[in-house]
Symmetry: C2
Subunit: 89 residues, 2 copies
Amino acid sequence: IMSELESGMAAIIQVFHKYSGHKCKLRKTELKALINNEMGNFIKVKNETLDVLFADLDQNGDLEIDFKEFITLIAMVTSACHELFIPNK
Amino acid sequence: IMSELESGMAAIIQVFHKYSGHKCKLRKTELKALINNEMGNFIKVKNETLDVLFADLDQNGDLEIDFKEFITLIAMVTSACHELFIPNK
């Protein structure tokens, strides 16, 4: 039985593969769909912002986002949400 | 309604606060409890490994792990799990 934290980590892996398919990389249109469909309550991105974000995440410059680059985005957004949702503070 | 990905990100924030309490930082004993209780299916750490891991994560050297340092651990473990659990490959 997985803990809620472990289920959360599994959800991150699953959503990446749902959008990357077997190639295990996200193209820009796939990243946009993932953000809009799965993170819409947390962030909204305009096309210009998406261009900047994608270039930032794509550290090896291959025009695709691999899992390590994707988890960087999750860490950024979760950190930003953490600042907003600190309980009882 | 949150997506599974958003619920997963919320679970990461909640588990951090469950162990950090209001100080919003994890001491080494708290990190150890969190890893053993909440990530036991994914990683096991011995005391020696915990010392090295803690020093690695504690980038500002204050002997406590803040949320940004914690999310680095989550990213490391999730990436490692990702390599193991690539579907149909």
